[in-house]
């Protein structure tokens, strides 16, 4: 198949009814919540903030730094970046190790004083066809400009979890269908976890427009 089918996605957000008031509770709950909850707090936060990238790239780091006002743990947790070769269980283990090591280095367990508890949620992502199908870089560029931001999330963030090598659907299509290896590599070189979806859209559009001018 040579065409690229843009698929959007929507997220159903589910409350687990579990909350942490301090970092020890946070760690214990991270150990027990379903995988979909770790996914919600580390991945789909990008889907929820398509226009603005937050100060911290996942909900755990954000909570520790902003609500508990423990910037040390916030910074340590911010380092956790999902990538294609990491499963959600790897991420869960990393989170626990970081919090555990942090707690053993201090005398008191930092807790929420003025901020809000951490509320655990979980995600269910539904893929939706957009009906937008392209078969050239020119058409792709036009579609990328106008497509729903959730399509970018689906083809970049979700795709990296699906692909064994952790590549985005866009890069795979450029490389394997259009034969544009350079463009694929440029797409892959972008650290998408540091952008909002709209920021990422602008960045990817720049690459496509540059390629079209060649």
């Amino acid at each position: 198949m040579h065409e690229f089918h843009f698929m959007a996605c929507v997220e159903i957000k589910e409350l687990l009814g579990k909350k942490a008031d301090d970092e020890q509770e946070l760690m214990e709950l991270i150990e027990e919540v379903p995988t979909d909850s770790i996914y919600y707090h580390t991945h789909s936060c990008f889907l929820r903030h398509p226009y603005i990238s937050g100060q911290y790239p996942n909900d755990f780091a954000d909570w520790a730094a902003i609500q508990v006002r423990d910037r040390v743990l916030g910074e340590k947790l911010a380092v956790i970046t999902p990538s294609g070769d990491k499963t959600i269980e790897h991420i869960r283990t990393e989170l626990i190790e970081i919090i555990d090591s942090h707690l053993s280095s201090i005398k008191m367990v930092p807790a929420v004083m003025y901020g809000h508890p951490f509320y655990f949620m979980q995600s269910k992502i539904i893929e939706i066809p957009t009906g937008v199908v392209v078969d050239s870089l020119k058409e792709f560029t036009y579609a990328l400009e106008t497509i729903d931001a959730s399509s970018i999330y689906n083809h970049v963030f979700e795709a990296r979890m699906r692909d064994r090598l952790g590549r985005s659907d866009f890069s795979i299509w450029f490389d394997e269908v259009l034969g544009k290896k350079d463009l694929a590599e440029r797409f892959e070189s972008v650290d998408s976890y540091l952008y909002s979806l709209e920021g990422l859209r602008s960045k990817l559009l720049q690459f496509c427009q540059h390629e079209l001018k060649k």
Binding site: I12, L15, S150
Partner: protein, 403 residues
């Protein structure tokens, strides 16, 4: 009910790129499915206002949608008002007679409704006991619009008996989640960008309203729109303004309503007028409930908008102001915390001094103010418009009905 015709496609200009196409594709697997909403009032209040807009949109999406409204007795409404207060954490005494009336009115109403829809959504506690009529194959959701983060246990335990028979619940904030064995979904409320309160206004319309209310044009305007209620902290707003006024020439507009039928509201309004009496740059507006276009114009005229609540449900006035490109300074409570991204769409604050400092910061940094206002509008476009609300419902329907 004969609903107004609302075409989802008319939101193309205001929704995020591609969002309306996603709505159409989301609704495809739901063609021919039926949906029934039930609540306790057709007019007045946020739930009725929301259903008036959403029900025609569901219909436009090809979903056979009905909206039924239950009827009660004075004792029933007294009971559900007590439930409402108790669920929001205020101590209430609910007698056995009141519980019995609640059950009786629910049973009488439920007898007159055909529960043949694929999905029934029951809004708030008033009709929650209808669930005894739930057909075996139908799916039912309980949509709770109120803050039940710290409910009075006795009332919650009574309602929980009914709620646990549903297929799921929907809450507006994560804080409201309860210990329940059924799924609990999160759907934020929304604003309608095409309504009178939020549509684009011409400069002529804005000028006419600001002249009518004598809003100064030669100095920055700080605005808070909210009921005269002590939890909205209007006195704290005046204190913050007084701190700012030492450094920046500005005026404060406190626009609200709800004082006429609420003795406590009248008392707060009196206190606010007293506190403002020696300063001509403080304008207090006691507006009628239908002053939507007036609020729209005031929000568009404001330089900085405040929502300095000390307790809040969701606080959609924040999204309303952000939609008009205004950064908002709000109390770090309730739904304000999910609407304001600190330093990007506004600031959440915890004190009068913090509020004053952030007002001064924005007044003295017009470039940052403009950038944050722009962020605020785009963040609202993606997260708090009615199109996102519809999308959340359609996604949930897909998950529940097409399992």
């Amino acid at each position: 009910m004969n609903s107004k015709i609302v075409k989802v496609d008319s939101y193309r200009e205001v929704a995020p790129p591609g969002a309306i196409n996603v709505l159409h594709h989301l609704s495809e697997p739901l063609q021919g499915k039926s949906l029934l909403h039930i609540n306790s009032t057709r007019f007045g209040g946020g739930v009725a206002e929301m259903l008036q807009r959403l029900v025609p949109m569901f219909k436009d999406m090809g979903i056979n949608t009905n909206w039924e409204v239950m009827e009660g007795t004075p004792l029933f409404y007294q009971t559900t008002k007590s439930f409402h207060n108790a669920l929001q954490g205020q101590p209430q005494i609910v007698s056995d007679e009141m519980y019995n009336e609640y059950i009786k009115v629910n049973r009488e109403n439920a007898r007159n409704i055909a529960f043949d829809a694929d999905l029934t959504i029951i809004h708030d506690p008033q009709p929650a006991a209808f669930v005894y009529r739930k057909p075996r194959k139908a799916k039912w959701l309980w949509r709770c619009h109120i803050d039940i983060s710290r409910p009075q246990r006795k009332v919650w335990n009574f309602l929980k008996e009914y709620i646990s028979k549903y297929d799921g619940t929907i809450f507006s904030l994560p804080d409201f989640a309860q210990k329940l064995a059924i799924p609990q979904f999160l759907i934020y409320p929304s604003i309608d960008p095409l309504s009178e309160k939020n549509r684009e206004l011409t400069q002529k319309e804005i000028d006419e309203i600001t002249m009518r209310y004598k809003i100064p044009q030669d100095k920055p305007v700080i605005l808070q729109v909210s009921r005269f209620d002590r939890f909205k902290d209007p006195s704290g707003v005046i204190e913050a303004y007084k701190i700012v006024k030492k450094y920046n020439n500005c005026c404060l507009v406190l626009a609200g309503g709800g004082a006429t039928d609420d003795p406590e509201g009248l008392q707060v309004l009196h206190q606010v007028r007293e506190a403002a009496s020696h300063d001509n740059d403080i304008i207090i507006l006691d507006l009628p409930p239908d002053a939507n276009i007036e609020i729209n114009a005031l929000q568009r005229t404001a330089t900085v908008v405040l929502q300095k609540s000390t307790k809040e449900g969701f606080g959609l006035t924040v999204a309303e102001a952000m939609w008009k490109g205004k950064p908002v300074i709000g109390g770090a409570v309730g739904g304000i915390t999910v609407q304001i991204i600190y330093g990007q769409t506004g600031f959440t604050v915890n004190s009068i001094e913090g509020c004053a400092f952030r007002i001064r910061y924005l007044l003295n940094n017009p470039e940052i103010l403009a950038e944050m206002g722009n962020n605020a509008r785009e963040y609202t476009r993606c997260n708090f418009l009615i199109t996102r609300h519809l999308s959340d419902y359609l996604a949930l329907m897909n998950a529940i009905l097409n399992k």
